[in-house]
Amino acid sequence: MKPLHSLTIKEVHEGYKNGDFTCTDLVKHFLKRIEKYNPQLNIYLSLNPKALEQAGAIDREIKEKGIDRPLLGIPFAIKDNFLTLGIETTAGSNILKGYQPQYESSVTRKLLDAGAIFLGKTNMDSFAHGSSTETSDFGPTLNPWNPEHLPGGSSGGSAAAIAAELATAALGSETAGSVRQPAAWCGVTGFKPTYGRAGRYGCIAMASSTDSPGPLAKNIADAALITKVISGQDPFDATTSSLPVDDYPQFLDKQDLKGIKIALVKEYLLPQMRPDVKDLILNAVSKLKELGATVEEISLLDPKYSIGVYTVIQRSEVSSNLSRFDGIRFGHDRDLFCQESKRRIMLGTYTLSAGYYDAYYKKALAVRTKIVDEFSKVFENYDAIVGAVSPGPAQKVGATKDQPMFGEMEDVLLEASSIAGLASAGVPCGFVDNLPIGLQITCAQFNEKKAFEIADCYQRNTSHQVFPNLDETL
């Protein structure tokens, strides 16, 4: 039998049914493992003080009623920007150090209602300002594949929790790449649902117009199940869609990809991309063809424009969203904002100021519309767009120093899909320098099912979703 920490959601449920182990066993196992590896990797910022108590209750429920909830007894790692009642929530910032949330976020509420059990809260870039977890006020998380490297971010803690097998599943959030990029750098599966598919209520806002909660998981099947649980109209979030949620797991386990039309974007195979990374992407494309998909090369707006648009919109929204941390409430003064947050607040304040609004924010919105239109046209003819998640593998610890645009350069291939609010899966597609590389499979808004279908077929027919042996890598 596989060790408990290696089991997928489905395998955990089978174990419960067979009486192989209890939820308490599983939670204890993870807590022990966290105790062993967390001091070095710095993945969890805080642990759920009631995890074992809750596990006991779940064991009683399983005994009485069996497994009647989709995530019953599944141990989760939760990114620290989701408010969780009873567990300190800081968004990786000293501003909120010691903050006890007054309510439960919509998606964590849905996870709890589905039976999930939270192990703890994971490290992230401070207020999600970054793509490395290096801007966290509580120190960087290290990459389980090689602790000299970063896990990516901002959901770096949640991605590393999956890679290091310190939780069965994890919740992250993506504003532009913050799920898919750390998933790629840590070699795990990540999924960004359409903007407005899962509610943002109780998720500490970064850029309101692109923030999307999404899962990090051991495989696409787990990601599909979690996405289904957290999706749907949120009465507390006016930007969520009333469209019915598809039963994503139903679209898995397809034999092949016959009839699927995929676009490979020329401009996304960047000139600065390492040839070995490019090769992995082209290998993946060959695999998709082999599975029956047709792949054609298309041309899109240079991704550099997305960086400009995203930077202006995101900084503007950040400057506004963080103004509630005014030093009057929440216990800490504003000088505790990290350097990167201060930089973003200042840039956003500038771009929204009288006389500059038209030149920056308004223009950015216009280009955003153009990008949305461009994608719509592509999806008239194609089911999905594929490409690399990141131009290269995980960078070394310290790489963000003196690089204010670090995140934007690393997320250059993700920002367009984020500002257009698309659905996108990130799956591992191989290694360079013993570090994982990720493939993104991006579909139209609310076409999550197609992204799951393609990513699942690719994942089952390749063997890139693997996990490090921590005793060797650390």
Partner: protein, 439 residues
Amino acid sequence: MKYSPLIGLEVHVELNTKSKMFCGCPSDHFGKAPNTQTCPVCLGLPGALPVPNKKAIQSCIKIGLALNCTINHLSKFDRKQYSYPDLPKGYQISQYDQPFCSDGFVLLESGKRIGIERVHQEEDTGKLQHTILDGKKVTLVDYNRSGVPLVEIVSRPDMESSVEAKEYLKKIHELIRAIGVSSADMEKGEMRLEPTINVKIEDERGVFYTPLVEVKNINSFNFASQAIDYEIKRQIEEFEKTGIEKSATNKTTRGYDSVKKITFLQRTKEEAKDYRYFPEPDIPPFVLDDDYIETIRQELPFLPDQIIATLVSEGVEPKYAKVLYANEKALIAFNRNKNEEGIDKAKLSSLIANKKIDIDKDIPSQYQKLNQVGITDISILASIVEEIIAANPGLVADYKKGKTTVLGFFVGQAMKATGGKADPRTLNILIVDRLKEAK
């Protein structure tokens, strides 16, 4: 030398919706224990999001329709950003360049139109309470009012005197109450007034405009009127002294001291805030089609001007139409009885307006009594009067001596002779004439 004041008004109205603008907390905050009606949304806690109140937006549109505005098919909320302890998010959700309603007007008695630039939806702030606690000067914040729906009505600078401004304000107040979207109780701060004033000065040197002054947060029509009068005088004097004209940068904000009856400087434009407005990303834009707007229009009751116009078209004198409109019971009494047989609408309205009729009692019978029309045919009455006078020479003599009380006897006799059917007025005139003639 000619002085023409230019006055515009911003009016804030708190709506009477059950819940707040963006959350489920009760919006009725008056007199409630501090911070008992709050939630993550109106406290601006991390992660909280606004969900717009549909009823409030409908009320805003109703106000726009009542003020003859165009309802915009595309509208959105924006964030107005400034830092203040009563504003927990650090921004107020308001509307910037696409309000729900624009370009309306109010008609004054004189027939003059006061333009309405826009009617938009926003949220109220919390309330600061400066007090002494444990011997220390402190400021407490009560967030019960935070997020209460607020509608702002912005007029054009079309008013030329405090009298016009006051009439405009009264009309707005009357309208808001008539459509039932707010009690607009001034004392509870449910309606707050902010006049903007400057003066156009024409003399042999040319035409000049004094710098704009906005007077903040006034809560009575009289204070608004006093503040306007004070400002007009003050601005003219200041111009005569300094010669400073209006520019793009010298608008100032003043407060009104109702005890001293003066305005005082609060801030100059140099200190004025750049609100860094941008579209509220947490609330999708609104697309309002004609059908939807029409549905809301159907919900509007008849408005004061419409009611008065209808009464006038029925023959009611305008001055009585206004009296009837102002007294709901009287208006109902009029409408219930105006179509009864034998009732003249104009006459009925005047009787009700002049309180000649007790509206709590049966109205037709009172009307008939007050308007009894008996025999007015002089040819019939004259001969009866003639007979009575001929039969009572003594009394005629008494009358001639100045004993006018005998007049009642003659009238009474004549009434008796006609079986009470004579018209008393006609009778009176005939008898007096006849008595004067008698020898």
